[in-house]
Amino acid sequence: MLLKKRQRDDVEIEGSSMADIAFLLLIFFLVVTTIDVDTGIGLVLPPIPDDIEPPPIRERNMLRILVNAQGMILLDDDPVSTAEVRPRVKEFVDNPTNDPNLSESPDDAIVSIKTDRQTPYSVYIDMLDEVMGAYNELRNEASMDRFGVPYSALEEDSIQQEQIRELYPKRISIAEPDEG
């Protein structure tokens, strides 16, 4: 019998440079990566009204905030500074003294925000920040009272968080812009 002898080359792939290749790729992705989470102030816009009349809102339950073209903040027609917004909103929403001019309950309180076309964006955001801050403080206080932990420490979408959110719902409304 004739056995054909074949000289076989070693067919193994050199694997030692694999780590180097992976390293290069790794460094590329390390450099390129930006692990930034998007942060910002969340808001829900009111839907476009139908022909149906919206339910009447009692004047005392509505806090009207106007930021005018000069960047002045008017709270129910009083000019206020940015720093005054937070305590005023807190007082309006919570109404601890049952003032007949302030909201009946936190659930009824509506903060209505109106702007001009020339309103500076930065003032608007500062004001919105303060309004959000007022709600956050109220929620925090309620959470401390009930559960002994700050609101942010409550588990996301837990029953406790839901309760606090129902207690102080953020009813922030963007007023219809003027025509023209």
């Binding site: 390390l30 829900v44 816009l45």
Partner: protein, 148 residues
Amino acid sequence: MAHFQKKSANTKESIPTSALPDIIFMLLIFFMVVTVLREVELQVQIEFHHAENIEKIDQKRLVSYVYIGPERLGGGQLGDTAVQIDDAIVDDMGAIRQIMYDKLMEQPRLIVSLRVDRNSEFGVITDVQQELRHAGTLRINYSTLRQL
């Protein structure tokens, strides 16, 4: 005389490196998954405003961005305030409605993140917001950075 030979440990001194590529690959895959390559080429200049009471959006899939700021012209000059969605500047405000409506159909829980230059006037944002309301994309987010 008896010769004492120093007993040495019989183990190898080198660290086994055969698992190294695997470790590197795991790291590599992690970064590949985490990486978001710059999604759009910005044609407007945006300087973010700072705020204190901000929230994070964890689900990036839900977010769609609208950029509002002065248009970048050649030579480092800035033009009028423009609105950019995805890769193009939107000239006609009415087009925003259709774009956003299409996006909403794809992702019903869409959040529109408004990335607005801090020196803008609110009129443009009002127009955009009106279009968003018509499109039905009501969840918005004013993108701001954390106050330092």
